[in-house]
Amino acid sequence: MRIKKNVMLENGDFVSYDKLLIATGGKPFVPPINGLEKKNIQTFIKLDEAKSLKSSVKPNSKVVIVGGGLIGFKAAEGLHELGADVTIVELADRILSTILDNESASIVTKRLTGDGIKIKLNTTVDEIIGDDYIKEVHLKNGETFPADHLIFAIGVTPNTDVVKGTSIKVNRGILVDKNMKTNLDDVYAAGDVAEGYDMLIDSNRVVPIWPSAYMQGETAGLNMVGIENATKGTFPMNSIGYKDTYIITAGIINPPDSSYDVITKADYDKNSYKKIVLKGNNVVGFILINDVDRAGIYTGLIRDRIDVSPFKDHLMKDDFGYVYFPKDLRKSKMLDLEVH
C-alpha cells in the first residue's frame, strides 16, 4: 500500500509532498513566573519585537534583560545605545557562559559595566510586580528594583510543535541523521529545530546558530533532490561584539575533563585574550577577545581535524598563520592541491 504523504494546514487544507523539510526554527523560552501578564514584557527574537522596543524605550527607561547570553547581550548593546538604563540578570556565574570562560567573561563584563550596564549574576527573576505595566522586578536573591521594561532572553528551544503527536522522533530537537533525515523516510529537518550531529562531541545536539542552519539546510536540500550528501557535522561557533569589543569563539571552550590541553595568553592593556583548547594533536576550541583577525584559521584547523603537532608551539603567536604550517599542508591548501 502506498502511504499518503500530506501535511495539513491550519485552515484544514491538505498539501501533498514527496519530500518534507521541517525548518520551524526555535521559539523563545519564557519561564513560568508571577506577573508575566504585565505590559512591557517581551522576548527579543523577531524584528517586530526589536522595533516595538525601540519605539517604546526612552532615554533613562529602566530595562531589565533576563539572560546574559548571546541575545541578551546584543539587546543590551542596542538598548544602551538608546540611552536606557540596562540591567542584565544572569543565572550563571558569568555572562555569555556558553561561549566564554571566566577570564574572557571578566574582560567583556568590565567593558559593559564601564558603560554603566548593571550585571547581576547567580540569580534570576522571581516575580514581576506592577499594576497594568511592569513597575518592579523581584529577584530570587531577594533584591527588588524598579523597571519599566523586561526582556526575556534566556534562550530558544526547538520549535517542535508541528511534529507533536506524530511518530517523528524528538529529543531536545528533531533527531536527524547525517543526511538530515528524521526517523521517517522522506521527512527531513534542519536548523534551530533539528538535533544534528556535532563532530566535536561525536553525538547529536542542537546548535542554534546561523552557519549550522545554513549547512544543515543545504545538506537536507541536496538529499531531498536525490544527491547523496552526508554532513561532516557542525559545532558551535559565534562571532559577537559589544561596540569596540570583539568576541570570536568556537568549539569546546571549557573542557569537561583533564584529557584536554589548554593554552592561554592575555594582554590586559589591549583587553585581548586568546585561549586554545586541544585534544591530543587537534584544536577543538578557541576563544579570541579583541584580537580576532584571522580567527578562521583556527576554525579551519578544527573543521579539517588538522594534526597541529608540527606547529603547536606557534599557535599562540600574534602572527600565527600558514607560514607556520608544514610545507605540504600549506601548499595543498593554498595551491588547491587538495582532493575536494
Binding site: 552557519p211 561557533m237 561584539g241 600558514y322 591548501k333 588547491d336 592541491l337
Partner: protein
Amino acid sequence: MKKVYAKEEVCVGCKLCEVYCITSHSRYKDVLKAYKFDSNRPAPRIVVEENRPLSFSLQCRHCDDAPCVKACITGAMQKDPVTGVVTCDTDKCVGCWTCVLVCGFGAIVRDTNNKIASKCDLCAESGEPACVKNCPNEALVYEGGI
C-alpha cells in the same frame, strides 16, 4: 576558475602587493595619491605572511565550497555563479565578522572604520589583479590552477 597563486620560493616579502592592493581599491588609482590624499584609505586585502626566510602573499582562495558565503548572516557575501568570484556586498554587510570566524585562510580583513568585511575581489573592476601585475619577482601568478 582563474585565481591568484603564490610562489613562496621567489617571494622576498617586499609587500608591494599590499601597496598595489590598497591602490587598486582606493578612490585614486594611483599609488602616491592613494597614500597621500585618500582619507578613507582601504586596508590591504592581502596578508603577506613572513617567518624569515619564508614569505608569501595570501588572499581569498574563492573557495568552491565557500564557507564565508554559507555563514554570512545577511547574504552580503556571495559567490558569482558564473565567474566563481566571492565578493562582499558592502551595502548589506553589517560587520558581524561571522565570515572572519569561518574563513580557514584568514583572508577576510575587518574594515572596522566602515564596519564592513573587506576581501580580495580579484580586482573585478580592472580585470587583472593589481598584486599580480605589480609583483617585481613574479611571485604571484593569475591562472587556472598550478
